[in-house]
Symmetry: C2
Subunit: 118 residues, 2 copies
């Protein structure tokens, strides 16, 4: 984030050629958010090192849901990210402090397309 000028246009991660994987993480956060943004930034750095990581989109409605969608080339990439020790520690802290509730859906993409205004 810190290297991207704030004027940079926001665009979704592209629609890749299937098959690839999506991990959809949808959360409601608690009032207790100390340490969250530092950990989140660290996770963003770490996931970029996973071979097969393709990108991530994020949206949060103020006071509402936060949806993170991670894109991965194959199931092995997801397994590696899921096994990362720092990631596991962050998940544990998330359940203890930062999340009221969440769901995770891991899915294999069968079809995709993108649109961009000419």
């Amino acid at each position: 984030m810190s290297n991207i000028p704030s004027e940079a246009p926001v665009t979704p991660v592209e629609a890749f050629d299937p098959p690839y994987y999506v991990a959809v993480f949808t959360a409601v956060r608690t009032q207790e958010q100390s340490g969250y943004s530092e950990t989140n930034a660290r996770m963003e750095d770490l996931v970029k090192n996973i071979p097969g990581y393709l990108g991530m989109d994020y949206a949060q409605t103020p006071g509402g849901l936060a949806i993170t969608v991670g894109y991965f080339r194959d199931a092995d990439a997801l397994t590696e990210w899921r096994s990362d020790a720092e990631h596991r520690a962050a998940q544990k802290r998330g359940r203890a402090e930062w999340y009221e509730s969440y769901t995770l859906h891991v899915a294999k993409v069968e079809r995709s397309h993108g649109f961009r205004r000419a």
Copy 2:
């Protein structure tokens, strides 16, 4: 929306037993949004009539990405929703007026889980 009191807690759609389908729609909207919210409300009503529709989560960062995740029991449900004439007309208008860019990823869920604070 109109029947839900604003104090109702926001929670993600549940993590169902796989397999099921997710459709991840990630968009950047234009400045031109006349008619958008009415059409969006109409689409929310219509999709609920699709057999196999399971639910939908939505988040939007102000000035940033909007992510909609729809959950469907099977591919047939998605095909039916994709073929709906009003839905197709809305998509066409979206490309002409409301969206700067978007991606759609349709994927079969292989693994899911949910967490809720006790």
